[in-house]
Symmetry: C2
Subunit: 509 residues, 2 copies
């Protein structure tokens, strides 16, 4: 090991950063406890207030009628599009949702467990813009989209291929979902997300999944999770409801996520926001069970605060972290998987602001016990921009979370009493037997951090983290090799896409 430590040349360091890390597990199984910021009294208070809200004020469902009929059918009070719920009704409906479920990937070794003690990381979702160090900020394209899918496929720390890793703005808005779903299926074999921007696009996603997984399999197993946002405060729009219905009917998992910027779409307080968030989530989650009892569903949360000076969204703030932790507790009390968190920030660059905010969110995410983490990597500028450099920086942080969540090894090797006896007062552990035998796995190895002396760092060019990340993602894309896909399936997907593209009118570009 002395020799390894002595091997400090620039090439050796670059090589060590570029070396492909070994995939250790398809998702994280946590051994760490969660932070419980609310006690029984606080939780009961918020739950009671949410019940009051649901009964007195209700939720608006901007639907063509089916959803409203369904609500009438289970005993809700429906006036126009406003639906009020007798106390206890939603909780009773939600009871049929599973506490955890497996999302299948086309490569079964990539299957992920969602719920319980598991944590699954997925990439940034929904950004219209992309940024990299040389190219600057620009609209996303299908090439960018494919690049982010390739990066997620290659990272051992991202468990999921995600959905709209960036908007491919160069493709027609009413057809691009076909290319997006295809790219996930073709370029990666990790689990992925379906389209939600129209009911027919959700149906296309289901139909394409059936070509890969088989029709019967898809009807009884989760192969897609799908992001259904509430239009907070207290409203679901027709688009989201349409997608929700398609996915729930097909036994595909919805992530029912109130999208809240506290102070604008909810009260400026944590307890008030949690109350509204719980009411909205319960209404959407219960709807999936009304559509198909037992349909897998995730208690979603996208919640942050705003700047009271400018009204701009803020991320990584103490208030948003309290919200994240509190919502996790409310989800656990409903016995549902929880989605929140990620590597959120408001910064325009991959600077210290971006990292402070992202790390604050990610640490809290892990301590909340979140089960599905969207925006785990690549998020910049309040979600408006997917960044190449941020993507690989964040993946590095996700890797650290895996080690953190493993907790403390209390085995004989973990206790290391022989090492302590061998070294003794005033000695050092670098060369001792225990260090030698634990050398490879002893500590997480960052692909981004530069821990060298200032002199070595200057000799390496005095680069900041962004510049090192720039080198890393380019090396990853250069190394990319696609996973195999059965040519028959590939042909079937391409035929389907060609037919659908021909059938969808061009006008709606």
């Amino acid at each position: 090991m002395a020799e390894r430590i002595a091997r400090r040349g620039r090439a050796a360091r670059r090589e060590s950063r570029a070396a492909k890390p070994v995939m250790t597990a398809p998702y994280i199984t946590r051994t760490l406890p969660t932070i419980e910021i609310l006690g029984e009294e606080g939780l009961a208070l918020i739950e009671g207030n949410a019940d009051t809200l649901l009964q007195e004020i209700g939720i608006e469902f901007r639907d063509d009628g089916e959803v409203l009929d369904r609500w009438r059918g289970v005993g809700a009070d429906v006036q126009d599009q406003r639906v009020r719920f007798p106390k206890g009704l939603l909780r009773q409906l939600i009871a049929t949702a599973p506490a955890r479920f497996t999302q299948h990937a086309r490569n079964p070794t990539r299957n992920v467990l969602i719920g319980g003690d598991s944590t699954v990381f997925a990439p940034v979702y929904g950004s219209p813009f992309v940024r990299d160090m040389e190219g600057g900020r620009r609209y996303g394209t299908i090439e960018d989209f494919c690049n982010f899918v390739k990066l997620a496929y290659q990272s051992p720390y991202i468990h999921h291929s995600g959905g709209t890793v960036c908007e491919p703005v160069d493709l027609p808005v009413n057809k691009r979902h076909l290319d997006m779903v295809y790219s996930h299926l073709k370029l990666s074999d990790k689990p992925f997300m379906g389209s939600v921007t129209a009911p027919e696009r959700a149906q296309d996603s289901v139909d394409m999944a059936k070509l890969v997984f088989g029709s019967e399999f898809v009807d009884n197993n989760v192969v897609m999770v799908n992001l259904i946002n509430a239009n907070s405060p207290m409203m679901f729009d027709g688009t989201m409801l349409g997608a929700l219905k398609v996915y729930a009917r097909h036994h595909q998992a919805c992530i029912v996520s109130p999208f809240i910027l506290s102070g604008a779409m909810s009260p400026v307080t944590v307890a008030g926001t949690l109350t509204q968030l719980l009411a909205e989530a319960m209404a959407g989650i219960a709807l999936t069970q009304v559509i198909r009892p037992g349909a897998p569903v995730i208690f979603g949360t996208f919640v942050s605060s705003i700047s009271m000076q400018s009204g701009a969204p803020t991320f990584g703030t103490p208030e948003s972290n309290l919200l994240l932790l509190g919502a996790a507790q409310l989800a656990r009390r409903l016995n549902l998987p929880y989605r929140s968190g990620g590597s959120l920030c408001a910064s325009k660059l991959t600077d210290a602001q971006a990292a402070y905010e992202s790390a604050a969110t990610l640490q809290t995410t892990m301590n909340s016990g979140a089960n599905f983490v969207l925006h785990g990597a690549g998020w910049l500028e309040g979600g408006l921009c997917s960044s190449y450099e941020k993507f690989v920086m964040d993946c590095d942080q996700l890797g650290m979370m895996g080690v953190y969540a493993n907790g403390v090894d209390l085995s004989d090797n973990g206790q290391a009493m022989d090492a302590i006896r061998e070294v003794g007062p005033g000695g050092h552990y670098l060369g001792c037997d225990h260090t030698q035998s634990n050398f490879e796995q002893a500590f997480y190895r960052s692909g981004i951090a530069d821990n060298n002396s200032v002199e070595q760092w200057e000799d390496d060019g005095g680069l900041d983290a962004t510049a090192r990340a720039n080198t890393l993602w380019k090396e990853m894309l250069a190394r990319y090799q696609p996973p195999t896909l059965d040519p028959g399936i590939d042909d079937a997907l391409n035929d389907f896409i060609a037919k659908r593209k021909a059938a969808i009118p061009d006008a709606a570009y």
Copy 2:
């Protein structure tokens, strides 16, 4: 409020960033729970192993003889400088140390409570170099030292003036402690730390404190906390022991801190490192009680990991965070205040690496329940460098931790049911009564983060966080006004310093 939000000009934003925040409390009183990564079984295992280590291997005290005589006197087994402890002896000795104590500041409104549910933030400590955006990296001077004291005095989020906020390398090494202690007393009225680099410098610190607080007061109240590092593994050197003796005798608080880079100075495992750390801390802490039973003392920890590729120290890693959390649990079981954490990083610049690592450490620090947080702001480059920009960036993060630690307000105002009723489905909360009446205190306001749109941000110059921090610290120094100091006390301090400087030989520069 609409008007306030509309007021978005560059000058307004700069003004809002520059506005001096109001000091809310002299320290943080936590309402949040701590993360307990170890269960009873794991804690008992580590404690048992530490007892075995202390009995079998022992600790080396490189002392002139007094410490060894004292250990013999309480029943330890002393062979040369190696001291072995019968099981239970140290725990019994430690029982006389207080669970919490007040450190008095010369301005009593700045007094801090150390222990229990309180958290006190102090600046970076011990860096020979300083860095700012324009000046780059250079040796620290007394001017830099004074600047950091002024910045800490002005930040509402740093509770403590600290100690060696940077090394004033332009002053003689055997006299500079006089200038450092004087600068803390003259330029700030927050609590501070004494010199530990030689027993006579510790005595000078005590003597100067007596000129300010009065001799009898100092002998019975804590006016300084003082950093006593163990020379891990399992050794205390003569310098540190000399300072420990001076401070314990004078009822001043020692922070007994094993200084460990896991893999070099302790085993590569978390459980093994915690075992050694506990043994070292118990030995040093018990010694303070042997010197003066009831002397205030803090269970200190400086522990991180190394890169197994290069041997370089690493910070903000998952392993170091597990160590930080585990050590906090061990300290709580001894019923002692705990020191650890801060805003640690290995980066050479205030880039994303610095912020990821610092935020990971700081979040964990708060969740550990740490009572005294050294290196809370300004730390760069593994502690070799105090950074002006990092100092104000980190202070901003410390401010957020104060809000986070406050937890969730469950009052009627916090529940905000009236606001939810007023706004209803599809509305917005910006203008509602509840938002208006909570406008000023609703959310933490960052002095560093830019949350504006990319267009506004570009209009403001497209600056990164480092550039904004550069503006902020300069504004703070330009605004600095010293607190009043009784001229008689000031004269007495200056007389003391002049006499001591004349008495200390010049040779040892």
